[in-house]
């Protein structure tokens, strides 16, 4: 499959990148690792006039430990670099656990954290070639006016399918964003929009520059459990991250988040209330599974049935709690 034609922009500094994105407002797409964008462009899901290759902007690459102030990860940092980072593995194990399940080792050499956080939502009816989509009359998310998953509705249920965001949500991460007005910072929990088309609170001319992990979450234990078809390479069809702050065998603080079940990744409400002050047990883990399953609204956007995926969230949330406590 061939890529549609475009002009390639290759800035060397963040200032240059911001200026180019402002100049070509709405007409430029950022490419980082390209593992999500390029296959989608071949399917003509995006036909931008300009593609901005961010990888020349060296200042956006790398993991910076800021003692007393957490850790900052540049948007261009590859998933392999995060997987091999000693600080991440030691202080933010839930992120390490999630990163090493993304795609395949080669895709982790290519894929970046920024790309993973900004990943497009996915659906059986959307991630297909132009010919395939055309033969089905297209759909709301791209080129059409109806939804095949929930016909009659006016809403796109395409699923957010990144593995790192649930881990980052558990850690209370913030994203730094550069745009024509300068830099802004937003909690990751306010970055996503639960709508398969809108997806992100990110203007078309904005660039995600860094992800900040707060010091307060350093040392929390973690686990990430993921449902996929092939263990070697596939996107999640359900994913649960659990991070626990433990003190003398009891939970002092906790967060649970899910991915690949809704158009946005979500923190599971009230999970902390169930866990804080407790010694993790099968019974409590079971209750977290209930809450996670209630937060999940899977529809037929992927190869596995929604019923199965909802049931597996329950199982995986339970496993994740027990494993995080044991780690």
């Amino acid at each position: 499959m061939s890529l549609p034609s475009f002009q390639l922009l290759r800035p060397k500094t963040l200032d240059e990148a911001v200026a180019l994105m402002a100049k070509h407002d709405g007409e430029a797409k950022i490419v980082a690792g390209g593992t999500d964008l390029l296959p989608s462009m071949k399917q003509k899901l995006f036909t931008p006039a300009y593609v901005l290759d961010l990888r020349g902007v060296g200042e956006l690459r790398g993991i910076r430990n800021m003692p007393g102030n957490g850790v900052e990860i540049g948007a261009l940092t590859t998933l392999t670099a995060i997987e091999h980072s000693a600080i991440i593995r030691k202080d933010y194990p839930v992120l390490y656990e999630a990163v090493k399940t993304v795609a395949s080792p080669v895709l982790r050499n290519m894929g970046t954290l920024g790309g993973n956080v900004c990943l497009d939502t996915r659906c059986l009816w959307y991630n297909q070639s132009l010919l395939w989509r055309k033969s089905c009359g297209f759909c709301l998310k791209k080129d059409g006016n109806l939804c095949h998953v929930a016909p009659g509705g006016n809403f796109c249920w395409a699923t957010f399918s990144g593995d790192t965001p649930p881990a980052l949500l558990c850690l209370g991460a913030e994203v730094e964003i550069a745009g024509p007005e300068g830099l802004r910072r937003t909690p990751l929990s306010e970055f996503y929009v639960n709508d398969g088309i809108v997806r992100l609170h990110l203007a078309p001319n904005e660039i995600v520059t860094r992800v900040h992990l707060p010091e307060a979450a350093a040392g929390w234990r973690g686990s990430y459990q993921k449902l996929r078809v092939r263990g070697s390479i596939d996107y999640p069809l359900a994913g649960v991250a659990v991070a626990l702050k433990m003190k003398s065998g009891r939970v002092e603080d906790a967060r649970v988040a899910i991915t690949a079940l809704n158009p946005a990744p979500f923190l599971v409400k009230d999970a902390d209330a169930q866990l804080i002050g407790m010694v993790p047990s099968e019974e409590i883990a079971e209750r977290i599974g209930e809450l996670a399953a209630r937060t999940a609204k899977p529809l037929t956007t992927s190869a596995l049935t929604p019923e199965y995926r909802r049931e597996m969230v329950r199982v995986f949330a339970k496993r994740a709690v027990m494993q995080a406590a044991a780690n």
Binding site: M1, S2, F6, V31, L38, V106
Partner: protein
């Protein structure tokens, strides 16, 4: 280093000529799409399209459209057909090449983004005198491939694995192999080939040590 001008243009003209002449056979659908891919290219000066790539230790001058992927350039502009196009969407690893010694799926890399970087393909793996890389030899000896379509991709991933980890565990080998897809059930033989190459290497090193004493 010697500079080479690519023979690509003449090759592409040849292909388009074949299509225009109506002589296209089974592969023509693919090639025809290729020609529209170039036909759509925005008008950019030849200077911007003519770039130098460092491939297998040689500087190659080549005419590359903005939207061309590295797999495409290697195969159809530089004649390096070792890297295969399987899925063309980052799922199978048949197109794996090394960029600055790290494996990438070349179907999902824009050629213009690897200017000034070092590209190594399967054609650059054997020694200059044609001696196969130890793992290549082991793959031959252990019947590590059947149809062979996936083999160049696997070789690049394995080369990277062993360069960083000369004595990987079984799990580490299996994990590395998970980047590439073989539909002929060659995984066990490939695993054995890697083990055999490592064992031979270690034996060789020990032998050298003994001889050196």
């Amino acid at each position: 280093m010697p500079e080479e001008t690519s023979k690509a243009v003449s090759r592409r003209r040849f292909i388009m000529g074949v299509i225009a002449g109506g002589a296209a056979v089974s592969a023509a659908g693919y090639l025809f799409r290729a020609s529209t891919h170039h036909g759509n290219a925005p008008l950019i000066g030849a200077g911007e399209r003519l770039i130098t790539l460092n491939v297998n230790g040689r500087q190659r001058r080549v005419d590359v459209a903005r939207q061309e992927t590295l797999a495409w350039t290697l195969r159809y502009n530089l004649g390096l057909t070792g890297a295969k196009l399987g899925c063309d969407r980052g799922e199978c690893g048949a197109c794996t090449v090394l960029i600055d010694d790290v494996p990438h799926y070349s179907c999902s890399v824009l050629t213009h983004t690897v200017r000034s970087r070092k590209v190594t393909t399967i054609e650059g793996l054997a020694a200059a005198d044609g001696t196969l890389h130890p793992v290549q030899q082991a793959m031959v000896d252990q019947h590590g491939s059947q149809c062979g379509f996936c083999t160049p991709g696997f070789m690049m991933t394995i080369k990277w694995l062993l360069a960083n980890n000369p004595d990987p565990s079984e799990d580490e080998i299996r994990d590395a192999l998970s980047s590439n897809l073989c539909r002929c059930t060659g995984y066990s033989q490939m695993y054995q080939a890697i083990r055999a190459a490592i064992d031979a290497e270690q034996k060789g090193t020990k032998q050298e040590l003994v001889e050196a004493k």
